[in-house]
C-alpha cells in the first residue's frame, strides 16, 4: 500500500428516514471491518441480555444513555474504520425531523452520502427531505441502500420500484445517484460481503461501493478567494509582521501577485506567504489555513475577501436572492434584522421579500406565505445595510453560501442564486470617460462602482472594465491606512481630476 493511500481519508454521512436502519448498517460495517474496540460487541450484547432487550447493532452507535432509552439517534456520531483502501469517517445523522439541523451538520462536512430506505416502508417524508438537503448542501456523491430486504423476501421487484421512484425524485434536484444497493443490515447481506439471498443483484457491496467514492479535491483551479479571518500583529519577541490570515476557499496565489480586497476595493501585492515551521513557501492554495504579508500597509478589516487582481472579482451589492433553509423554531419574518455570516464577513441583514416557499419534502411551491417557518425552504431577497461581496452558487459554490443567525443561533443556511436588482443610488450611465487619456481611468471607475454598490452587471462600461481585468484601487484615496473617504468626496475628487464626467448621489 502506498503512503498516500495510508493517509487518504473520506467522510461519509448516513441519511434516511427514522428507523430505516442507518445505525444498524453502520454497526454492521464497524463490526465487519474489525473497527470495534475489543470487547465492545460483547459488552453491548451483555447489556442487552441484562436488560432483556434483543441485541441491536444500532446500540453500538447509540452510545449515550439517553439514546438507548429513547431508541433514536439524537445527534451526530462519528465513527472511524478503515478498509485496505483508506480510512473512513462515518457520520451517523439522525433521521427524525426534530433533529434535522443535526443531519445538516453531519451532511455538510461529508464528501459522500449513503441514504437508507426501508424496503418495506418505501420512500418517506425524510427520505425526500434529506435528498433535498443534500442537493442544497452541495453533496452530490450519493448511494442509496434499500435496506431490510429480508422483510420483503429479497424481492427484486420491490427494489426496482424504489430505485425507479427515488431516481426520478432526485433527478428533479439535479442529483444523479452513483448506485442503489439492496441490503439487509440485520442479516449482513451486501454490507461487507455479497449474499446468496439476492442472486439477481450483480453490483458492488456497500464496502466495495464506498471504496469507489472519490475524495473531494480542493478547488485550486477556480479564482482565488480568501475570506480574511483576521489581521495579526503579534509584537512579542520583536515580531513586526502584519499578517492577513484566513483559510483559502478556492484557487491559488503566489508571492508577487497583485491582490484586491473586496468590498473595500483596496489593493496591494503579496510580499510573503507566512507559515510556522516547515520549509519556506512562495505559494498557497485552496484548503490551506494561510497567512500573508503585503507590500503596502493597508487598513483592511476581518470579513473582507482577498482576491487576485488578474482574476474575476466577486459580486458586490446589498440585495441578494437566496435559496434559504430555516432551522429555528421561531419563523423568519420580513422586516426583522438578523445577522449574516458570509465567508468571514459578519453583517446585519434584513429579510425584505419572500418570493416562494418550498415544502422540502414535497417540493411544492407556496407563494402566499408571509414568513419562513422551521424546516421550510424559501427563495427570498435579503438586504444588507452596506454593500457586501459574494459569489453566486452557480459560479463558485464554496463562496456562494451564507448562514443567518437569529437569537445567537445559526437559524438559516442559504445559497446565493443571484444579485437582486438594487435600488439605484447613483447614475447608471457610464461613470467614466471611456476614451479617457488617463491610464488609471478604469481602475478608479470600478472602485467607485464597487463602493457605491450599484455595479449593474449589465452596464456595458462595467463589462468592458471587467474584460480588461480592471483593478479596484482606492490607495490614492485614503493613503496611510485611514478610513476610506466618503463616496461624495471620492466622486468630487475624481471629477476635479477629470477622471469622470459627472456623478449623482
Amino acid at each position: 500500500m502506498s503512503k498516500s493511500h495510508q493517509h487518504e481519508q473520506i467522510s461519509i454521512v448516513m441519511a434516511g428516514h427514522v428507523d430505516h436502519g442507518k445505525s444498524t448498517v453502520i454497526g454492521r460495517l464497524l463490526a465487519e471491518t474489525g473497527a470495534l474496540p475489543q470487547g465492545k460487541l460483547e459488552q453491548v450484547r451483555a447489556q442487552c441480555r441484562r436488560n432483556a432487550k434483543p441485541f441491536e447493532y444500532a446500540f453500538l452507535l447509540d452510545a449515550l444513555k439517553d439514546e438507548q432509552a429513547q431508541g433514536i439517534t439524537i445527534d451526530v456520531a462519528r465513527c472511524f474504520f478503515k478498509t485496505a483502501q483508506r480510512r473512513y469517517i462515518l457520520i451517523d445523522a439522525p433521521g427524525h425531523i426534530e433533529f434535522l439541523k443535526n443531519m445538516i451538520t453531519g451532511a455538510s462536512r461529508a464528501e459522500a452520502a449513503l441514504l437508507v430506505i426501508d424496503a418495506k416502508e418505501g420512500i418517506r417524508e425524510n427520505t425526500k427531505r434529506h435528498g433535498y438537503m443534500m442537493s442544497m448542501l452541495g453533496l452530490r456523491q450519493l448511494t442509496v441502500l434499500v435496506n431490510k430486504m429480508d422483510l420483503v423476501n429479497y424481492d427484486e421487484a420491490v427494489f426496482e420500484r424504489i430505485r425507479k421512484d427515488y431516481t426520478e425524485f432526485l433527478a428533479r434536484l439535479q442529483i444523479h445517484p452513483v448506485s442503489f444497493i439492496p441490503v439487509s443490515g440485520m442479516q449482513g447481506d451486501n454490507i461487507a460481503a455479497g449474499t446468496g439471498a439476492m442472486p439477481w443483484y450483480k453490483g458492488p457491496t456497500v464496502l466495495e461501493q464506498i471504496d469507489r467514492f472519490q475524495t473531494s479535491r480542493f478547488p485550486d483551479t477556480l479564482p482565488f478567494r480568501l475570506p480574511v479571518q483576521d489581521i495579526y500583529k503579534f509584537t512579542e519577541q520583536d515580531d513586526d509582521r502584519r499578517i492577513v490570515a484566513g483559510t483559502i476557499e478556492t484557487g491559488s496565489i503566489a508571492v508577487g501577485d497583485a491582490v484586491v480586497f473586496q468590498p473595500s476595493g483596496k489593493s496591494s501585492r503579496i510580499r510573503s506567504v507566512e507559515y510556522f515551521k516547515g520549509p519556506a513557501k512562495i505559494r498557497a492554495s485552496a484548503g490551506e489555513a494561510s497567512g500573508f504579508t503585503l507590500d503596502t500597509q493597508l487598513y483592511i478589516k476581518p470579513g473582507e475577501w482577498m482576491v487576485r487582481a488578474d482574476e474575476p472579482a466577486l459580486q458586490v451589492g446589498t440585495r441578494l436572492r437566496v435559496n434559504l433553509f430555516w432551522m429555528n423554531r421561531a419563523p423568519m419574518i420580513c422586516g426583522k434584522t438578523y445577522k449574516l455570516k458570509l465567508g468571514a464577513l459578519r453583517s446585519t441583514v434584513k429579510l425584505v421579500e419572500i418570493l416562494a416557499v418550498l415544502d422540502a419534502a414535497e417540493i411544492g411551491v407556496d407563494s402566499a406565505k408571509q414568513q419562513v417557518d422551521r424546516h421550510d425552504v424559501a427563495e427570498v431577497i435579503l438586504e444588507t445595510p452596506k454593500p457586501v461581496a459574494f459569489d453566486l452558487i452557480g459560479d463558485i459554490e464554496q463562496t456562494g453560501r451564507l448562514v443567518i443567525v437569529d437569537n445567537f443561533e445559526i437559524a438559516g443556511a442559504g445559497i446565493i442564486l443571484a444579485k437582486a436588482e438594487t435600488v439605484a443610488t447613483t447614475s447608471e450611465t457610464p461613470l467614466l470617460d471611456p476614451a479617457g487619456a488617463h491610464g488609471n481611468t478604469s481602475k478608479f471607475a470600478v472602485s467607485i462602482i464597487a463602493l457605491s454598490g450599484v455595479d449593474n452587471p449589465d452596464s456595458p462600461a462595467l463589462k468592458r472594465l471587467i474584460s480588461q481585468n480592471a483593478i479596484v484601487t482606492m490607495k490614492t484615496m485614503g493613503e496611510g491606512g485611514g478610513e476610506p473617504a466618503s463616496l461624495e468626496t471620492v466622486f468630487k475628487l475624481l471629477k476635479q481630476q477629470g477622471f469622470i464626467l459627472d456623478y449623482q448621489i
Binding site: 498516500s4 495510508q6 493517509h7 487518504e8 481519508q9 474489525g34 473497527a35 470495534l36 474496540p37 475489543q38 465492545k40 447489556q47 452510545a63 449515550l64 444513555k65 439517553d66 439524537i74 445527534d75 451526530v76 456520531a77 462519528r78 465513527c79 472511524f80 480510512r87 469517517i89 439541523k101 443535526n102 445538516i104 451538520t105 455538510s108 462536512r109 448542501l137 480542493f218 479571518q229 483576521d230 495579526y232 503579534f234 519577541q237 515580531d239 499578517i243 490570515a245 484566513g246 483559510t247 507566512e274 507559515y275 510556522f276 515551521k277 484548503g287 490551506e288 489555513a289 497567512g291 476581518p302 445577522k339 455570516k341 453560501r401 448562514v403 445567537f408 443561533e409 445559526i410 443556511a413
Partner: protein, 293 residues
Amino acid sequence: MNSLDRLEAHSVHILREAYREFKSLVMLWSIGKDSTVLLWLARKAFFGHVPFPLMHVDTHFKVPEMITYRDQLALQWHLDMIVGENSPALAARQTYPDGALSRVECCKSLKSEALKHSLDGTWPRKRMDHTLGHLTNEAKPEAFTGVIVGVRADEEGSRSKERTFSARDSQNEWDVGDQPPELWKQYKTDFAPGTHVRVHPLLDWTELNIWEYIDRESIPIISLYFDQGKGKRYRSLGCYPCTTPVDSTAKNVPDIIAELRGGKFTNIAERSGREQDKEDGGGLETLRRGGYM
C-alpha cells in the same frame, strides 16, 4: 493536501475563529499528547505565538515528570500558563487515594470542580512568571468564557457527539440533544452573555492521526508515553492512582504508530487504562455532563 494537512488546516481555522470571537479565551493543557498537539496547532495558527493563556489543573496526583515537562515547555515557548487546583479538598485529604471518595467523585472534585472555579476566577490560581522562571500567585484571577479543549470524537461515545463550538450554561451543563448546527465553515460563534463556550478543534482527529502528526512535526512529547525499558508505557495520561500503564515496548513515536496501525492496540480503546470510566457503566459520560472535559 494529505489528510494530516487537512486536519491541521481545519483545526487552525477553528483556533483563529475562536481567537477572533472570544475576548476572554483560555486553552486547557493537560500535558498529554492531544493538548500538546493542540498547543502546537495554536503556534501554527498564530505564526509562532500563543496569544491566550493556557490552563493546567493540577490534581497533585500527576506523575512528577508531567509537572517538570510542563514548566520546561512553558518557559521555552513563552507560554502564559495558569495553574489551578482544588486546594481545600487536597488539604482535607478528600480524595480517592486517601480513601475518602470513589474514583468518579475524586475526578469530580479534583478536576471538574477545580477547573470550574479556576475558569471563573473564584479560586486562587498560579501563573508562570517568565522573569522569575517559576509560578507565582495570580493577583486578580479573571474569568474565562471561551475554553479551548483538545477532546477527540474517537475517544468515547459522548465525545463523538460534540460540536466544535459548544455552549455550556452557567451550571456548566451540556444539552446533548439540542445542539446548534455547524455547516460549511460556519460555526456557532454567537452566545448570550454569561454563556460558557468550549471550543474543540481536534474533534476529527484520531489517536493515530495525533501520533502521525507528532512524528511529522517532531513535537516534543513527554517520555511517559514511551517504554523506558521495563516493557510498560502510558497510552493515556491521568493521575497515577487511576491510570495503569499498558504492556508495550514502543520506545519512540514510530513504534507507537506501528502499534496503532496494525499492532496490538488497533482494537483496544485508548482510555482502557482509565479506571474511572468503568464505574457505573457510563462514568465518563456522567462526569462530562457535569463539566468534565
